[in-house]
Symmetry: C2
């Protein structure tokens, strides 16, 4: 079927059903706005499984998501929704750009979680936005921003607990949301949650297990992803 959208790490295809899409996870990894690129055999399969596990967990906990069902090794069937072009970043510990922004050392635990907004726009380099920009640019209305911020904090609570019980520390993660036209434009969680979109450390050793292994040339990228997959699968099965 037709490719509707191809991003750096996923492809979206039309299906026979007009309100359903097929979301395919690629093996490609990119960083620094596409300047760094590498293919990791098996990444698509692992990230699909992690996303399936975490979205199923969040749905069961009352978070509306775009997930409909599993399809095959690298693909999920998801609702066709209107994506809001904002990346919502939830942070529990200082890392990456937050260290530059605050002057606080990487690894500093935040006194409370915070939510950042970035404009999903590669040409502009995904700049940070304040709520005022989002409203004035017409990307989302104030009610939607409030709703999404609340969902981000609730998802953070759920994921922090889940990850901790599975042996990991959730440093930060990126979420995307959309409007579901078939459900009165309800806000639903979309995209993926995987080591590509989260910072996840070993709870005991603080070892980096996520895409920072690729960004920082630490090696063993797929070993980290695979460890996360196995642990969260086991934890989900025990729940």
């Amino acid at each position: 079927m037709d490719i509707l959208y191809e991003g750096k790490a996923k492809r979206l295809y039309a299906t026979a059903h007009p309100s359903e899409l097929r979301m395919e996870f690629k093996d490609d990894a990119t960083a620094f706005n596409g300047l760094k690129h590498e293919v990791f055999a098996g990444k698509g399969r692992i990230n699909k499984s992690i996303t399936l596990t975490l979205f199923s967990f969040l749905e069961a906990a009352g978070i509306p998501t775009h997930l409909l069902r599993d399809e095959d090794e690298t693909r999920l069937i998801v609702r066709k929704i209107e994506i809001i072009p904002i990346e919502f970043v939830v942070r529990n510990v200082v890392a990456g750009s937050l260290a530059q922004r605050t002057g606080w050392a990487e690894g500093t635990a935040l006194p409370e979680p915070l939510v950042e907004f970035y404009y999903k726009n590669d040409a502009l380099g995904d700049p940070m936005l304040a709520p005022d920009h989002i409203r004035v640019m017409g990307l989302a209305n104030a009610e939607e921003v409030d709703r999404i911020r609340s969902l981000c904090l609730r998802i953070n609570q759920l994921l922090m607990g889940f990850m901790q019980d599975a042996g990991f520390r959730l440093i930060d993660f990126k979420l995307e949301f959309g409007r579901d036209g078939e459900r009165q434009n309800q806000i639903v969680l979309a995209d993926e949650i995987s080591p590509d979109t989260c910072r996840i450390h070993d709870l005991a050793t603080d070892e980096i297990l996520d895409k920072d292994r690729f960004r920082r040339d630490l090696g063993g990228v797929m070993e980290g992803y695979q460890r996360i997959l196995e642990a969260i699968r086991n934890h989900a099965a025990q729940r």
Copy 2:
């Protein structure tokens, strides 16, 4: 008396009165986080007079400020307050970093004004903050941020009208606020309002009259500042 603080364009001195400071406007102009520097004879005098005129106008319109009284050619006497280390930028028209952030062309009128927050920290390059950063970093509490945002929008209304009546278009401007310990930590407008801290264009011709003349090497910097001073003084005298 002792210099308590020296910035790029001003010095603050202690006075004989513990709750009063002397604020001196320098002739130095800097841009690009201090990389560009030039001295313009008379700038301190002009900016002091513009600040005095605009702060007096705002005080009379009900905005609490740190201004107490005029002192001499380049100096004002102001209340000693605790400055909040945030630059509040109010924008009516796209210019500067907002063009890069939104992808909108410079000169585009915004559908409504917006307020941005920047961390006053030269070493970090004055990064943009979202309200969540301000709260988590402990720079100001949520009530203070709301209060300052309201003050920013009210000041914008007042200054837009004033500037338009004086023959100018107010593109954007930067404000600073502080807590007045002698008035129950009331939030008061502080610092300056001048062509160093505003973008101001001629209403009819859109000619740039502010510090962008210096940033962009357009020449006639002091001529622009002097035109603004004369027009707003005349307008203030007529009111």
